[in-house]
């Protein structure tokens, strides 16, 4: 066991902080006096700054959480109803280590298809996880434990925390090209090159839909080519699906990439999150699934995933899982959810149109097609950090310095103001 922990530290590249000279003096000095202040999280820093700004015009388009047209956070009706049913009726006993069976069943139907043969054949090892982050982390830990010589290919760019997750799991990382800054679209040719050049049997992290932070997704045709190449190279596809239903408004459509891979016989891994599509952010509810050869293997894999969860948090939180189970398990509530998730997706699509039209009306010399080409919560505007700084300093508009706009923060009330500001800082470029 000592060897394991030493190895963990070595692979994480954690160097020990210098030892204090005063150690050993009883009650004299802190054990932790040498601890450095950690760098602030770039995304959370944006919201902090926004909150501190007294300007009445301020706009927060850094936030990765849905807002309604009044800029207010939303609790879905189906969620409120589910919670009314939960409160006072059920006990709070421990879930099994692998989480809620019911929630897992419903999640698999959502991701793999209602009538999926794979579900009937019980070939999917699945556990409830702590939202998308927790699902990715469990997979990374599992990958490390059972395939210690593998690495993970991560797209450029990606959600920043992906790098942290696989790093802390001690899985070496490589990258593959994805975003094309010139077109603000997909750099498909380079992506395919990187896929072909990776050693056979490489592990790839793919965003199933609504790529974060770019909003750029491969087309269906492109996904088919990617899937084919993956077969040729025998790569392992791991899908992070954080926005199913939230991207196009249709959960089946948003799972298209996964369904294509499944048709082609890939044995995929998949991280699902209900943070955005059910608005359950703080409940931390998600699902990790790994498609196996057969039921026996699925049972074995699941048991090992549980062994990784146990020393991390023992068993996952019950509340969010209950909400998901109740909603997806009740036809009326599920249908209400589908309506509400479409509503959210439609509002965002509407704001994309509005922002683009406003910019074009202002006579911007640049192309803003990408605003409506991209999909999901985020728009990679193409603005530089300097331009973003100007937006913040001069217009009190808050976003991450990579030029990522959270469309969820755009409303009919501020779309014009936002367009105007963007035009001001970009018109001379």
């Amino acid at each position: 066991m000592a060897a394991i922990s030493r190895e963990i530290l070595k692979r994480r590249g954690i160097h020990r902080s210098p030892v204090m000279a005063t150690i050993g003096t009883r009650s004299m000095a802190s054990w932790f006096g040498h601890v450095e202040p950690a760098a602030k999280d770039p995304i959370l820093g944006v919201t902090e700054a926004f909150l501190a700004d007294p300007s009445p015009d301020k706009v927060n388009v850094g936030v990765g959480a849905y807002r309604d047209d009044n800029g207010k956070p939303v609790v879905l009706e189906c969620v409120r109803e589910a919670e009314r049913r939960i409160a006072g009726n059920l006990n709070m006993e421990y879930l099994p280590m692998g989480g809620s069976i019911k929630m897992i069943e419903e999640s698999l139907k959502l991701a793999y298809g209602e009538d999926s043969e794979l579900i009937k054949e019980k070939r999917i090892a699945a556990v409830q996880a702590l939202s998308g982050t927790g699902a990715c982390r469990l997979f990374a830990d599992f990958q490390k434990r059972f395939l210690p010589d593998t690495q993970i290919y991560i797209p450029i760019p990606t959600w920043a925390n992906h790098h942290n997750i696989w790093r802390d799991a001690c899985v070496p990382q490589r990258t593959f090209r994805y975003y094309h800054p010139e077109t603000r679209g997909l750099d498909f040719a380079s992506m395919m090159d990187d896929i072909k050049n990776a050693p056979n049997g490489s592990f790839f992290l793919l965003h199933a839909c609504a790529h974060n932070p770019t909003g750029v997704d491969p087309s269906e045709e492109q996904w088919r080519e990617i899937s084919y190449q993956f077969k040729v190279k025998n790569h392992f596809p791991f899908f992070d699906m954080a926005y199913q239903g939230f991207a196009s408004g249709d959960p089946n459509r948003d799972a298209k990439a996964i369904r294509i891979f499944l048709e082609d016989g890939h044995l995929i891994g998949c991280a699902q999150s209900y943070a955005k599509n059910m608005g359950l952010y703080g409940q931390r509810v998600g699902c990790l699934s790994i498609l196996c050869d057969d039921e026996l293997q699925a049972v074995a894999v699941k048991s090992q995933l549980q062994q990784l969860a146990r020393p991390m948090y023992s068993n996952p939180p019950v509340h969010g899982a209950l909400v998901v189970s109740i909603i997806l398990g009740d036809p009326e509530l599920k249908s209400l959810w589908l309506k509400e998730v479409k509503g959210m997706a439609d509002r965002i699509i509407g704001m994309r149109k509005a922002l683009r039209e406003n910019l074009e009306k202002l006579g911007s010399p640049l192309s803003w097609e990408h605003i409506t080409n991209q999909i999901g919560m985020f728009c990679y505007s193409g603005m530089t950090p300097e331009q973003v700084d100007r937006l913040t300093d001069e217009f009190h508009i808050y976003m991450t310095r990579n030029g990522r706009i959270s469309m969820a923060g755009v409303t009919t009330g501020n779309a014009g103001y936002l367009a105007n500001a963007i035009h001001e800082v970009t018109k001379s470029s």
Partner: protein
């Protein structure tokens, strides 16, 4: 193991390759290299090292993990059709009727949250709900604790006790110069795994004395005095799991003096505050003694048992530091541990706790309900002890009423336990541990009969 080999030999790989071939419209034969970017046309297609079998799962060699011994007890119990069966494996509180309990004050808090339209479910900060953190620190360290008043305590919300231990362990593995943690023998089965995966190396110190069924205090002190400077020491704040054996206050004081003089770092696991004696302050005495001397320590708090919030996974990790400045820096580093693990903690359970702790009347109601649970367990201890004495069961059973908290280490051996399960349908872990929470006045006589029979018939 056999199944995995069988699977590898039979259908799966062939099926996978056949499917692949059909999809790609090629003839499947090993010599066909049209699928691969290969310079040599006659080169054989070889699977990469990571492919379990070409096209098959890369996880073919994953074997099934052994079943959790404690959960195995409940599984076996559920299968038993006997009407007199008793489940004493469960580590969760049960009422006299053998039912799980949701505290009334928890229900009230839930209703308040559900009916509050302003209550949203946004992401909590990485460190969790701020109110919850402050209130939790006050609960364990005391509202008047100088450490709190001097801002020397950093508290972060974590996933119950387990999560708090893991995050604390990871922090120490990264920032503390000494990576050995000493855990008591025995201890909760999950402790070694938690700390090992956190990156620490685990050693043990003597704790339980099977001959007295009490504390092996002399050996405990000996072992800790041999620990290197800076070594971390895991201490159960109260209601030691699984033995129920706690040091007396005098013994705690001696432990404290030793730990401070040897320069060891205490890490408290507080899973039963209020649940052990029925009194929140009394159950926190051990920790408060250490904080009072101005030294540093870590504390993992759980609300699973004392608020019955088991599945909500509510807990807190506190690190008491020498100065406010250090505490701020420590907190910033804790965030770096948490973010790649689960980003931020679950909101529901923490909201319930905060709602209760911040309301004077609800807090009082909680203490009353908590005391009732603790009292029921103490009553069960007394009843069992009395029942054994009435039967003239050989041996000294006073440890049943001396031990504290949810569990009793009976001292029964594996054979005796097996006998009790088979003949009397008593379900418990093979180490002789019973959960007093699973007993009721109705079932005590049956358990006493079983113990009596086991002790007299099996040696």
């Amino acid at each position: 193991m056999g199944d995995a080999n069988l699977r590898a030999e039979l259908g799966s790989p062939g099926r996978r390759l056949g499917t692949l071939a059909r999809h790609l419209g090629v003839d499947y034969s090993p010599a066909s290299s049209s699928l691969m970017a290969s310079h040599n046309a006659s080169e054989i297609v070889t699977p990469s090292p990571t492919a379990g079998s070409y096209g098959g799962s890369v996880f073919t060699n994953v074997v099934q993990a052994p079943e959790d011994p404690i959960l195995g007890v409940t599984v076996a119990y559920n299968k038993d059709p006997s009407p007199v069966k008793v489940n004493l494996g469960v580590g969760a509180y049960r009422t006299e009727e053998g039912k799980p309990l949701v505290l009334n004050v928890v229900r009230r808090a839930e209703q308040l949250l559900v009916n509050d339209p302003s209550h949203v479910k946004e992401y909590l900060p990485i460190t969790g709900l701020a109110d919850f953190n402050k209130l939790s620190a006050k609960l364990i360290f005391g509202a008047d604790s100088p450490a709190i008043q001097e801002n020397r305590v950093t508290t972060v919300q974590c996933l119950s006790g387990t999560g708090s231990l893991r995050v604390g362990g990871e922090f120490l593995a990264r920032h503390h110069h000494e990576h050995t943690i000493y855990i008591p023998q025995p201890t909760w089965g999950n402790h070694p795994k938690v700390f090992t995966l956190a990156g620490l190396s685990v050693k043990t110190y003597h704790y339980y004395d099977p001959t007295t069924r009490g504390l092996n205090f002399k050996s405990l002190l000996e072992d800790l005095s041999k620990a290197p400077r800076g070594a971390i020491v895991l201490l159960h704040a109260c209601a030691h799991n699984p033995t129920g054996v706690d040091p007396t206050l005098d013994q705690w004081e001696q432990i404290r003096l030793l730990i401070r003089s040897k320069g060891l770092l205490p890490f408290f696991d507080s899973a039963y505050q209020g649940f052990a004696s029925g009194n929140l302050e009394a159950d926190a005495q051990s920790i408060r003694m250490f904080v009072a001397d101005g030294g540093e320590c870590l504390t993992a708090q759980s609300y699973a048992k004392n608020m019955g919030l088991y599945g909500e996974r509510v807990g807190a990790l506190s690190i008491v530091c020498k100065s406010a400045d250090v505490a701020v820096r420590v907190e910033s580093q804790l965030k770096l541990v948490i973010r790649p693990m689960y980003s931020n903690p679950p909101i529901h359970g923490a909201s319930i706790v905060a709602t209760i702790l911040k309301d004077r009347e609800m807090y009082h109601e909680w203490t009353v309900e908590l005391k009732a649970m603790a009292d029921r367990i103490i009553r069960m201890r007394q009843q069992l002890f009395d029942a054994l004495r009435t039967r003239g069961t050989p041996g000294d059973w006073s440890h049943i009423i001396k031990q504290i908290g949810m569990f009793t280490f009976t001292g029964l051996n594996r054979e005796q336990v097996t006998f009790m399960t088979k003949e009397y349908h008593i379900y418990m872990t093979s180490d002789g541990r019973i959960s007093m929470a699973g007993l009721s006045s109705k079932t005590v006589p049956h358990l006493a009969d079983a113990i009596h029979a086991a002790v007299t018939r099996i040696k």
